[in-house]
Amino acid sequence: MISIENVSKSFVLHNQGAANISVMQAASLQVAPGECVALTGASGAGKSTLMRMIYGNYLTETGRIMIGDVDVARAAPREIIQLRRRTLGYVSQFLRVVPRVSTLDVVAEPLLVTGTPQDKALRTAQDLLARLNIPERLWSLSPTTFSGGEQQRVNIARGFSYPYPALLLDEPTASLDPTNRATVLEMIKEAKARDAAIIGIFHDHAARDAICDRQVDMTQYTPGLAA
């Protein structure tokens, strides 16, 4: 489902003496449907960078990033928008939302933009929020004022409301209490069971060992860090 071949990335900082920082060299990775792969390596090894390249958030200079039959490294913006709507989900570490939009609408949005009827989308959103222990009295409020842990759970609910065939998870269990952590791990297992291909970053090693089938050490692709 996800096939990454020989991708490299460097940043040129024009306003800082045109410094050219090479951060990734010839990284390759294959993820099959129903498989969960963990990216590992110390901070700075390029885990988040690779996730962002897969999501089309960072440009990819060389190599291919195939999600189904779309090459993200070469796709037009319009194709990436479509891909993000129906194929590729991303749970980032931070929630970014429009002020004033209710939590329920934030979670239902991925369903609404793909044409799910409003009542069905809202029901799914309610189920997810209840499952993640977000108190019902908060559902009509904007999550911008929520605590870090609550925002993270809203973010996860949003990322799991539409059944994406490919999922990127950046620290999904960070800042969660044991109960909610167990729920999130359960949701990831369910996503695997419906054959989603998943790439994740987990500093929570117990969580990683519980759900990931393989680990890929990104250090091997980091110039200057590779052994």
Binding site: F11, V12, L13, H14, N15, R52, G56, N57, Y58, L59, P77, R78, I80, I81, R96, V98, P99, R100, V101, L112, V113
Partner: protein
């Protein structure tokens, strides 16, 4: 799929000075494109060329008309272009007073656009006007007030209602949130976002506010000195800018 708007090698000069040049873009139905750049970068000139307010010196602006498919709006007759701007296009000005008739009631401002496309039944026009005022969160009891009695944020919402009542397919916006304070901006952005989704609108938004484009635009175009220097997916251009100027622009935003 046919693009709704196709711009090819557009250029506009003011005497020897460049307004904008070598601009090409495709905009598809339902897409929102942001154009950012500093004052004098040519972004408003470009917008006005696209909307038929200025005549470009070079290039084509093709719009997917309902009747005949893609037509070059630069070479079409003035009445045809005016018809488009009354029906399929909308233009939201930075200053609401440029887009509103200040001595006509709120209801009249909305109804006038309907009459321009041959709505004649007074009751139906009034109902439609009330419905639209409600959608932009202006209560029914303000329908007979003139825009001069409205706050800046309300005037802007009224302008949006006036523009969208005829069900346009393409909306041009010039700094739609400029000059409004942040709480009013947030409300307006939320409104614009939901209208874009509900009506499957395409829009081109000119702004210098990067936060506005991040929330509203799918794609981004960065202009400097009349040239397009970078284009791409909005979050990609903002998070991984390639051009020196875009990097400067992004890194100059104050973090809150």
């Amino acid at each position: 799929m046919t693009p709704l708007l196709q711009v090819e090698n557009l250029a506009k000069f003011y005497g020897p000075r460049i307004g904008c040049t070598d601009v090409s873009l495709d905009l598809y139905p339902g897409e929102v494109m942001g154009i950012v750049g500093e004052s004098g970068s040519g972004k408003s000139t470009l917008l006005n060329c696209l909307a038929g307010h200025l005549t470009p010196d070079r290039g084509a602006v093709r719009f997917d008309t309902r009747a005949d498919g893609l037509r070059d709006t630069v070479t079409m007759s003035e009445p045809e272009r005016r018809m488009l701007s009354r029906t399929d296009w909308a233009f939201v000005h930075q200053h609401a007073r440029d887009g509103l008739r200040m001595n006509v009631s709120a209801g009249g401002n909305v109804g006038e656009r309907l009459m321009a496309v041959n709505a004649r039944h007074y009751g139906a026009i009034r109902d439609e006007a009330i419905d639209w005022l409600g959608r932009v969160e202006i209560t029914e009891d303000r329908i007979d007030d003139r825009p001069t009695a409205f706050s800046g944020g309300m005037q802007q919402r009224l302008q949006i209602a006036r523009n969208l009542v005829t069900g346009p397919r393409l909306v041009f916006m010039d700094e739609p949130t400029g000059g409004l304070d942040v709480s009013v901006q947030a409300r307006l952005l939320d409104l614009l976002r939901s209208l874009v989704r509900e009506m499957n609108l395409s829009a081109i938004i000119v702004t210098h506010d990067l936060a506005v484009v991040r929330l509203l635009a799918d794609r981004l175009m960065v202009m400097k000195d009349g040239h397009v220097i970078e284009t791409g997916l909005t979050d990609q251009v903002l998070d991984d800018p390639q051009h020196a100027y875009t990097q400067l622009l992004v890194s100059s935003v104050l973090q809150v």
